[in-house]
């Protein structure tokens, strides 16, 4: 029996128009892809039925690349060219990498980000991550039988601007249209909250392979509002492995280790940690390269002891997030556990003690992030169905500021501000006749520039020469819903405006990405040109649909002349969109956008007024 669907104005939910979109959890240890099918969020498996793709990439001499299980299998044979936990390197300089000395790779300093020398050449962490994302894209396209309109990629909530930008670059390199970068704990909260129709304040405790996040959210009538977030973008299961690794070396009196033995020890350390999640003690037996044996027994008590400071770090960050939210543990309705590392009993116990309640473990901690991301992707792709009426309000995890005199930081946007956000700050010149101003953008909580992360520098030129202190330079920070920053500076004392826009790119320029994309398409036998054209056509179709439904909705806001201008732009776009001239399509889309600008602004005012009117009715009704 065919069911009729009632569609509200502005919604496009005809089944044949379902737009393919996925959520991707790009993890330190494993990665996953999920999608919403018939209203249900599901993880997509590979042909062998595996849902987890190990985040491992191996480069071979002949230019081939192994990804996932195959790469993992060859890891101890070819440690130098097999890259694991690449997420820890994203947007990071060489000095930022924890335990870098124990990694088997040849690191090369790169602009903005460390690079890895492999047998197939020097690779940036962005390229390595793109290999993982490509496999997931192909998996999704094969399973869903079509091209993806876009993806929501999850990132640790505590990722800074450089790490977010690197992740977005990796997705673009993998041929994915990024609908949104979504914070992992927020993704988990969506999956949990929508599943359980929860209301109240929840904490999401997310300990993954390499990152730790804590987020405090208020769930109320379909709005997920992040109140505060905190964490450590370099703390995860890997660090617990490392503690066991060091313990083995110390107990067995080993040193120095060959690279092969080090790999072996690391693997056994991880196994022992995982074994302790369901047993009281873990026997460790290793045959070293020399033929010697290591034979040890790791008890739960010793494991708890050697990892105590790591657990303490998570609790400290949790308390700080609670303080930032202006809440105490008593306000928390439930604690949702996310990430494979929350399986460790001492973590479960520590969290239960801190909050005075048993944590919630009813969703698979490995999958919940991807499932939530898929739900957000479905919404952002325009597949909003009746009842899908929820909204996400996330925050920026780290404060953004500018360097001022004496190497001090002037905060412009404080951490935990709800996104999107724009803030302006005024500065002036300190010398007579000064015509340029250097602007240095930093991220972090400390007072000294040297202790914060440098995001970018730019120079504002063309300031009219005035006496010191007379020029007024307004620097505006805009952070979008992805948590990404752009900065504008304007001199406004004389009405003569200098204007500059900066998007810090951390080593990969748009041109570099374009070249890499072209190369990767040639390798994959894909046609970059056709793909770009199809994307433009889909975009044009979306814009037309949105414009038509807006016109139907509120045509009274337009004069006949304005209406005619818009109609002409529509006709023009319709005429070119089926052709193969992508530039013409882009131009026609821009023209339609310009023609509807005032109309859109009026519509927005109208809907804001509607929100006000709505509340008056709520208040009157009992």
């Amino acid at each position: 029996m065919a069911l009729l669907q009632i569609v509200e104005p502005g919604e496009t939910t005809a089944p044949h128009q379902h737009r393919l979109a996925v959520g991707i959890d790009l993890g330190t240890t494993n990665s996953l892809v999920a999608t919403v099918r018939s209203g249900m969020s599901v993880v997509l498996n590979d042909v062998q039925g595996h849902s987890l793709l190990p985040s491992v990439v191996r480069y071979l001499a002949d230019g081939r690349v192994e990804i996932g299980r195959t790469a993992e299998k060859h890891r101890s044979l070819d440690p130098k060219n097999t890259i694991v936990s690449v997420k820890r390197l994203m947007g990071r300089g060489r000095g930022d990498i924890a335990h870098g000395e124990t990694l088997p790779h040849d690191f090369v300093d790169g602009e903005g980000m460390v690079r890895i020398r492999t047998i197939a050449g020097i690779k940036s962490p962005v390229e390595v991550s793109a290999e993982i994302l490509k496999v997931l894209r192909q998996r999704a396209e094969a399973a869903l039988g079509g091209e993806l309109i876009g993806a929501v990629i999850t990132v640790p909530a505590y990722f800074d601007d450089a790490q977010r930008q690197a992740t977005k670059d990796a997705a673009r390199l993998a041929g994915l249209n990024v609908l949104r970068l979504l914070n992992e704990p927020t993704a988990a909260a969506i999956a949990y909250g929508l599943d359980n129709a929860s209301e109240g304040v929840f904490a999401v405790f997310d300990l993954g392979g390499g990152t730790f996040d804590i987020s405090i959210l208020r769930l109320s009538k379909g709005i997920f509002e992040v109140l505060a977030t905190g964490g450590d973008s370099a703390l995860g299961g890997d660090d617990f492995d490392h503690r066991v690794f060091c313990w083995i070396i110390e107990q067995a009196g080993l040193r120095p280790l060959s690279p092969h033995d080090a790999r072996l020890l690391q693997a056994h350390a991880r196994e022992a940690k995982e074994y302790l999640s369901s047993h009281g003690e873990a026997p460790i037996t290793i045959k070293l390269g020399s033929g010697e044996y290591v034979d040890l027994l790791l008890t739960t008590d010793s494991f708890t002891e050697i990892t105590r400071t790591l657990v303490q770090k998570t609790l400290t960050a949790t308390k700080k997030a609670l303080r930032d939210a202006g809440l105490t543990v008593g306000d928390i309705r439930g604690v949702v556990m996310v990430g494979g590392s929350t399986r460790m009993p001492q973590i479960q116990q520590a969290v239960a003690e801190l909050f005075g309640q048993e944590p919630l473990n009813n969703l698979d901690p490995d999958k919940v992030v991807a499932l939530g991301a898929a739900m957000q992707a479905n919404l952002l792709a325009g597949n909003r169905a009746a009842g899908d009426d929820w909204l996400l309000l996330d925050v920026i995890p780290l404060s953004l500021g500018l360097e001022t005199m004496g190497g001090l930081v002037e905060k412009v946007i404080p951490r935990n501000s709800t996104l999107p956000i724009a803030r302006a700050q005024e500065f002036t010149t300190f010398k007579d006749g000064q015509t340029a101003l250097a602007i240095h953008i930093v991220q972090g909580e400390r007072e000294l520039v040297a202790d914060c992360r440098s995001l970018g520098r730019f120079e504002l030129r063309g300031i009219p020469p005035l006496v010191a202190g007379a020029a007024r330079i307004r620097v505006t920070f805009q952070v979008d819903a992805d948590g990404l920053l752009s900065v504008t500076a304007r001199e406004q004392s004389t009405g003569c405006e200098a204007h500059i826009e900066v998007k810090p790119s951390y080593g990969l320029s748009d041109d570099e990405i374009a070249v890499m994309l072209k190369e990767s398409f040639t390798h994959a036998g894909d046609d970059a040109f056709r793909r770009a054209l199809r994307e433009a056509q889909v975009e044009a179709q979306r814009l037309l649909e949105a414009t038509r439904s807006a016109l139907e909705d509120s045509s009274t806001l337009l004069s006949p002349a304005e209406r005619e201008t818009i109609d002409r732009a529509i006709v023009k776009l319709e005429a070119v969109m089926l052709g193969d001239d992508r530039r013409a399509i882009d131009a026609a889309m821009q023209a339609l956008g310009a023609a509807t600008e005032d109309f859109a602004a009026r519509r927005m005012n109208q809907s804001v007024q509607r929100a006000l009117a709505g509340k008056t009715i709520d208040q009157i009704s009992p």
């Binding site: 496009t12 609908l179 949104r180 109320s220 009538k221 709005i223 509002e225 303490q312 770090k313 609790l315 400290t316 308390k319 700080k320 303080r323 919404l379 952002l380 792709a381 325009g382 909204l391 996400l392 309000l393 501000s417 709800t418 996104l419 999107p420 956000i421 724009a422 803030r423 805009q478 979008d480 819903a481 979306r542 814009l543 649909e545 949105a546 414009t547 889309m589 821009q590 339609l592 956008g593 310009a594 509807t596 600008e597 859109a600 602004a601 927005m604 005012n605 809907s607 804001v608 007024q609 509607r610 929100a611 006000l612 009117a613 709505g614 509340k615 008056t616 709520d618």
Partner: protein, 179 residues
Amino acid sequence: MMSDLDFAADHFALFGLPRSQQLDSAALDLRFRQLQTEVHPDRHVQAGDAGQRLSMQWASRVNEAYQTLKNPLRRALYLLQLTGHDPQVENNTAMPADFLFRQMELRESVAEARRDGDEGVLEAARLQLVQEIAAVHRRLIELMDGEHEYVAASGLVRQLMFQEKLLGEIDDALEVVAS
């Protein structure tokens, strides 16, 4: 009246709330969610580049207004600015002697607790300061809404800035002590 509302409306008008230091925070929260439901970029995903930009500006505007109204200190500063009173935060550093003495005392005990790593003392100091700040918030409402004593209110606002800075220092100390 409704038709006056646009992007340039003041924060109170945007949230349909009376212009006062006293605030119905439940109404503020409710209105914030209603407004974001209308303007947030995620609600306009099909709108094209220009529409997305417009929606980002609106959502930023609503967030800024919400943050300003939600925080009593920022609300007071904003209200003073709206009513044309300069709180002189940059150039007037005069404070009552007993207030300064109390601040110095608290500062010293925080510094000492930080040195000694005494989390308990810090937590207690924090709690006490939070209560003192709440008392100042109540007094500000009386001064601004009831007595219209804006000069006295400005003095209190300057004290509040002191106290909030100290609160930040206690939080920093707590973090240092805990790690």
